[in-house]
Symmetry: C2
Subunit: 350 residues, 2 copies
Amino acid sequence: MTPTGETPAEPAPGSAAARGQRPSIRGVARLAGVSATTVSHTLNGRRPVAEDTRRRVLEAIEQLGYRPNALARGLRTSRSQTIGLAIPDITNPFYPALARGMQDVLGAAGYEQIISNTDGDRRRERAAIERMIARQVDGLAFAVFHTHAEDLAPAIEAGIPVVRLGGRLAQHGVDVVRSDDEGAAGEAARHLLEWGYRRIGFVSGPPAEGPAAERVAGYRAALAAAGTPPDPRLIVHTDFDRAGGARGAAALLDLPDPPDAVLCANDIMAIGALDTARARGLRVPQDLAVMGFDDIEAAAMVVPGLTTMANPAREIGRACARRLLDRLSGGAGPSAEVVIPARLVRRGSA
Amino acid sequence: MTPTGETPAEPAPGSAAARGQRPSIRGVARLAGVSATTVSHTLNGRRPVAEDTRRRVLEAIEQLGYRPNALARGLRTSRSQTIGLAIPDITNPFYPALARGMQDVLGAAGYEQIISNTDGDRRRERAAIERMIARQVDGLAFAVFHTHAEDLAPAIEAGIPVVRLGGRLAQHGVDVVRSDDEGAAGEAARHLLEWGYRRIGFVSGPPAEGPAAERVAGYRAALAAAGTPPDPRLIVHTDFDRAGGARGAAALLDLPDPPDAVLCANDIMAIGALDTARARGLRVPQDLAVMGFDDIEAAAMVVPGLTTMANPAREIGRACARRLLDRLSGGAGPSAEVVIPARLVRRGSA
DNA sequence: CGATTAATTGTGATCGTTCACAAAGAGGAG
DNA sequence: CTCCTCTTTGTGAACGATCACAATTAATCG
């Protein structure tokens, strides 16, 4: 294309680019013999440009290796094309899936994503929000358990659309996207009942924390709907980890009339429950069915494979991004709650 | 602090902030009765400010809820305080750990991180680099297998420090940070020899792909160093997944003189090898030892727990970030290669 | 042929910072 | 009292884009 036959991306020797200076829109304008305005409009098509001019401009851009400066553009338009995501820890596999879901949608719309890890520390959460506001993010997704509503106030006052991930809709001006934990627990319980299990226990974490409470509620509701009389001894509270799951399952099995199936508040705990079953020589799923929540990677790896309710993290991310984009384009109505259903993943343990 | 006793974060009614306009540095200057320059310098301390003035300025900032506009600052200084990270897929658990390691270091230095998923697609890799340049990232970390060196050229020409993750040092002006796959494989092999295993097989992926080749080399070297005669039949090539691991292990066990230990190129494959052992009624680790690489979450969950060489993703991220910061502050010398050692994680399978 | 319209492009201010200069005032020395 | 130094602050021009206006030209019409 260029006279010398070099690759188009290569800047002409002696050009601004070759000297390490990035070419600006004015440089392009000069080379193409037009004004900066025209270059701008050729690029973002806000007003018609004559075919002939457009060609000259594009050639100049190519020749100089020009790339519009997103910072300058953002300053002028007060749109950074950036979305902030504040999460406890990207290392927790739920969040990468969430982030990816958001990017699936945001990337197509030309947005980039800034991720901040807060480790669930309130001070760091507030600092993250401050930093994001300073960076003029166009939208903010906030995923935390321990957040206080007023911490989001600065963002709202700054006119930034905010979506909260998880929890109930509680705050004016903040949308919520969450998984249907209650429904998922119900589906899990129904699945066990369908397969003939009659006495179903639930191993939960510390009372009233996070989505676990919803899951307990869904479990209760499903049993009630099936006409099974509720038995409070079938719900035990332990820690949200593998050892906790093992202890919880053991406690249930020690009952005078032990359950033939246990639902655990998450997969890690369910794997703990499998440990207990193995230790006691119980065959899974014949003697005891075990189900978890989330469908972590390990759920497919253990033997037998863990039947579980997949946490639709990626879907949540997509919905969250869509919601933000809607708000940004103005048409989204009052704050709303979007609930994403979970999906049953059948493996060997039930 | 404020006369009316309201919380300091609350903007005064009628102020710019209350009207939805974010206050600018000039607004602060006006309220404090100084020039914008003085406000700027109180904030970033590039020149001394009288104690009295500083107080007035800080009060004005508090009162207006002023936050410096990072876009404007970046435009003026041509520093965005942003680092780009291009990876195949954040959903692969290696990368979140890497990203987190980078943030551990970058966050403290006031940098934010932009993550781009390329899915290993070359077009998307190039597009990601373009976008990052347009955003004026101050540094770029690039983690891909199939990347061609010339794809990084635009970033280098733009004067952006680039660190490549994995691979060998091959390109002028690009640092490399990688895990010591060869050394890790050697350590794994030595560990098995120490525990009395004598005939060690290796289940690798397709020949000459990624870090697996290094791992094979390290395994070979360790055996040679121990005086064990090399046996090409002990190295099999299959796919990088669970089924591949299972097939590879089966192939080795079908040898006339089967190995008493197998090393797999990653944990997923090792879990496949465990499948094979279970299917054949072999006890692990008595009849057959199994080791993997990476220490994925599932490695701790399977039974028996998988002994493995932890892939120091977070450490790699930290080193990568440190390297970038060094380059940004000017003092980093010629391109270099940083090698991070792996760590042996002992569990039940060896 | 002058006037009106449509198509195309340009001018200059502006977004919110920072930075190179320079100025103003206070205090001390000669 | 003048000159110099030191401390403290201000002025005005950038950075690179966009946008409200306005200007220029060619084409069309009565």
